[in-house]
């Protein structure tokens, strides 16, 4: 992210140390993850020790220190989705994508993540592709959904 962009965010939160979580959230929103150099810059400007920023960034699940794919695939592993077969859907996604939870495919297209209850339990098991919700997922439907995304992102 541009240093100017970070400056704007810092200014919005009045360089308040207590707003560090919100600051990191905004920085991440712009680029899907938190690059090292951005964290160094924030640490210098606030100023708070870099170790403290890393502690926050690694404590909260919402933050990623690694780049994430163009499409983030989140599998709901909430209890309701679990009892309706979410683990089988997840296994199939891992198989199809050839990656584990928290990883990105080599072509940078997909990242696989899990989430606990999206509040759409009636449609469980749920997989979210980017912002699109796919309900009543089955292992077989995983394959066709991924094919569709691969196709649209090439176009």
């Amino acid at each position: 992210m541009s240093l100017k962009g970070i400056d704007q965010i810092l200014k919005k939160f009045e360089y308040r140390e207590s707003a560090i979580i919100a600051i990191l959230q905004e920085v991440q929103e712009k680029q899907n993850y938190l690059p090292e150099k951005d964290l160094e810059y924030i640490s210098e400007k606030l100023p708070i020790p870099l170790t403290r920023i890393y502690r926050i960034a690694s404590f909260y699940n919402a933050f990623s220190l690694k780049p994430r794919g163009k499409h983030i695939i989140s599998v709901c592993l909430g209890t309701a989705c679990h009892v309706r077969g979410a683990p089988m859907v997840l296994d199939r996604l891992k198989l199809e994508l050839g990656i584990d939870i928290g990883e990105m495919t080599e072509d940078g297209l997909f990242s696989l993540e899990t989430v606990n209850c999206l509040g759409a339990c009636a449609m469980g098991p749920i997989v979210v592709f980017g912002k699109e919700y796919h309900g009543q997922m089955t292992p077989a439907r995983v394959e066709s959904a991924i094919k569709k995304y691969k196709k649209t992102s090439k176009e």
Binding site: I21, Q25, I56, E96, M123
Partner: protein, 617 residues
């Protein structure tokens, strides 16, 4: 927008809003909370707008977009008034018919009505549907009456009259007394008496007092708080304002779960509206009451729902709980007296003030007053959010409201209390829902998750599921919790993989004791509950896994095999095409077979077979 700067002006503003409403004018109400959106409600709304324009009806018919109304199984819901018709599972393609048949022709579109699965009869009105009939929707029911983005809508249904009432008639001490007498207990899990908490906070000395709304909603499989914040944010904010007045606080926070963008958006907008109207800020409604609220988004950590961890997170730190020998009501956020309550707890406050303590205490049981919102999910026909009076039995909720088990399974257990709770077996489901009774049987009220499980749910797998969740979410501060939950997970995992040993159940019980006794916060203290309750009520399932290397529910991969039923297979070949492991062979129109050594037990064929021919044993 005009400021409302006195109690009289609020009454006047309400009257003006009501005067503007034409009771004869048709209104089409469409649900569009997170779950309705997942079903495509936004496209339905878009289509409706276009269709009305096409028919020259723009302006002649009002559209009201609401949050969720509970019946998530049938989203999106479309209601037409004044006829009071409910259409369910509406698709964009249905809109033309609704407009031409119902809005223009005053006729009913039969195919969109709710149909009783047993009698086949259609139901016209929302409140006649069994799902709604048995509920007492005093709090959640208002979602259907308002557009959550409109403060006017909330004022029209009597919003902020409870705040006005206490500012006009009651001293802060009297408000505390009322909440104490109402018997309201915290809806966030612990069930602590709210009035007592307010009183301690009010009496604690400090430079400043804070009030916080806990909207972190971490129970995986529960979304009551999201439903309220998305659908009626002002009811929660009004509760907070009354609480702040009673406690003597001028600053509040709403801590919203990271995964709830729409809820954050709706509360933030609601707060902005209140500031514009002058209902937040200095000298609210011309009194000496000053108060403002800030929204803070969580970072996706379950532990931040715990009170001390939440406060640490608000201060910009890692969310680790601290010991509570000094209570947060005395020293909480920035070491000042702080009152923290759950979303639903706050939403109960205006109701108590408006309807009175006597009315409120007439609902519920001796020790549990009022209603509770549950998220009724899992293997149940009618999934959704339901609001029921305390004291109703679990069976009534699952069977009358939930419509029983989905598919052809049999009810096995109902899990309440999320990762801190336990599974309640069928033999106990005639028990009334009440804080103390649920604790007695080894579960707890929790925040309101109610997960229905059938005979295809493996209870050892469920215990493993919760332990996996807890080991991931343990903040790591206490060794017993960090290491203990991990060890318990490993033992459970081994059992589900067929590597269980004699003595594992006793080992789990030993570890449970250590984790519960040695941990600082309730995450660790209650972590063993899902394991202990499943051992208590479903010990035979554990034993089948350990001794016979068998998973009776057919869930644990290492212990099951897939095969095809000769009598049912039609040779259609669908299973073969979906199998990712090429484990299925067979010619078209002939019996197919699965090679157990190649099969990865992914379940694809099971889900794909239209003839129920795939067997799991």
């Amino acid at each position: 927008m005009k400021k409302i700067s006195s109690l009289q002006e609020l009454d006047k503003a309400r009257q003006e809003i009501l005067d503007r409403i034409d009771p004869e004018k048709p209104v089409v109400t469409i649900t569009s909370g997170t779950s309705a959106r997942a079903y495509g409600s936004e496209k339905v709304i878009d289509t409706l707008r276009k269709e009305l324009k096409k028919q020259g009806l723009t302006g002649k018919i009002d559209i009201r977009i609401t949050g969720g109304q509970g019946f998530d199984e049938r989203e999106p819901l479309v209601m037409v008034s004044p006829q009071d018709i409910l259409y369910q599972q509406v698709k964009p393609a249905d809109i033309a018919d609704i407009v031409s048949e119902t809005l223009i022709g005053n006729k009913v579109v039969d195919r969109l009505l709710y149909k009783d699965a047993e009698t086949g009869e259609t139901v016209l009105h929302k409140m006649d549907i069994p799902f709604y009939k048995a509920q007492s929707p005093y709090i959640f029911g208002n979602n259907s009456k308002i557009d959550p983005t409109s403060l006017d809508d909330y004022i029209a249904i009597g919003g902020y009259s409870a705040l006005a009432k206490v500012l006009r008639e009651n001293s802060p001490e009297e408000v505390v007394e009322m909440i104490k007498k109402s018997g309201l207990r915290g809806r966030g899990g612990g069930g602590f008496p709210t009035g007592r908490k307010w009183e301690s906070c009010r009496n604690a000395p400090g430079k400043k007092h804070y009030v916080i709304c806990n909207a972190d909603e971490g129970d995986p499989g529960a979304y009551m708080d999201r439903g309220l914040l998305e659908g009626n944010p002002h009811s929660v904010l009004e509760g907070m304002m009354i609480g702040a007045y009673a406690i003597g606080s001028d600053e509040g926070y709403v801590y919203v779960r990271y995964e709830y963008p729409l809820a954050s958006e709706n509360v933030e907008r609601a707060i902005e509206q209140l500031r514009t109207y002058g209902l937040l800020g200095k000298n609210i409604l011309g009194t000496h009451f000053n108060f403002d609220i800030t929204v803070s988004r969580g970072g996706g950590a379950f532990i931040c729902g715990e009170s001390t961890a939440l406060m640490a997170s608000l201060e910009g730190k890692a969310g680790e709980p601290r010991a509570k020998h000094i209570h947060t009501v005395e020293s909480g956020l920035w070491d000042q007296p702080t009152d923290l309550n759950n979303v639903e707890t706050w939403a109960n406050v205006p109701l108590i003030i408006n309807k009175g303590v006597d009315w409120y205490t007439s609902i519920g049981t001796e020790g549990s007053k009022g209603t509770k919102i549950f998220s009724l999910v899992g293997k149940v026909k009618n999934t959704g959010l339901v609001e029921v009076p305390m004291g109703i039995t679990i069976r009534e909720v699952v069977e009358n409201i939930g419509g029983g088990i989905s598919g052809n399974g049999k009810l096995k257990a109902v899990q309440t209390g999320g990762p801190s709770g336990g599974a309640i077996p069928t033999s106990l489901i005639d028990m009334p829902i009440d804080y103390d009774r649920l604790t007695e049987v080894g579960s707890m009220m929790g925040s309101g998750g109610m997960i229905v499980m059938d005979d295809k749910t493996c209870m050892v797998d469920i215990a493993k599921y919760f332990m996996n969740f807890l080991k991931d979410e343990s903040c790591g501060k206490c060794t017993t919790c960090r290491e203990g939950t991990r060890r318990m997970y490993e033992v459970l995992n081994a059992i589900t993989e067929g590597k269980g040993k004699e003595g594992d159940i006793e080992l789990l019980e030993d570890l449970s004791w250590i984790v519960a006794e040695g941990s600082l916060c309730a995450l660790g203290q209650t972590a063993p509950n899902p394991v202990l309750s499943t051992i208590k009520y479903f010990r035979d399932e554990y034993e089948a896994h350990i001794k016979e290397k068998r998973c009776p529910a057919g869930v644990c991969k290492a212990l099951i095999t897939y095969s095809i039923d000769e009598a049912k297979c039609t040779g259609c070949g669908v299973c073969k095409t979906v199998c990712p492991a090429d484990a299925i062979t067979g010619k078209k129109k002939e019996l197919h077979t699965i090679d157990p050594d190649t099969c990865i037990r992914c379940g694809a064929c099971l889900a794909a077979c239209n003839f129920d021919a795939v067997k799991v044993v």
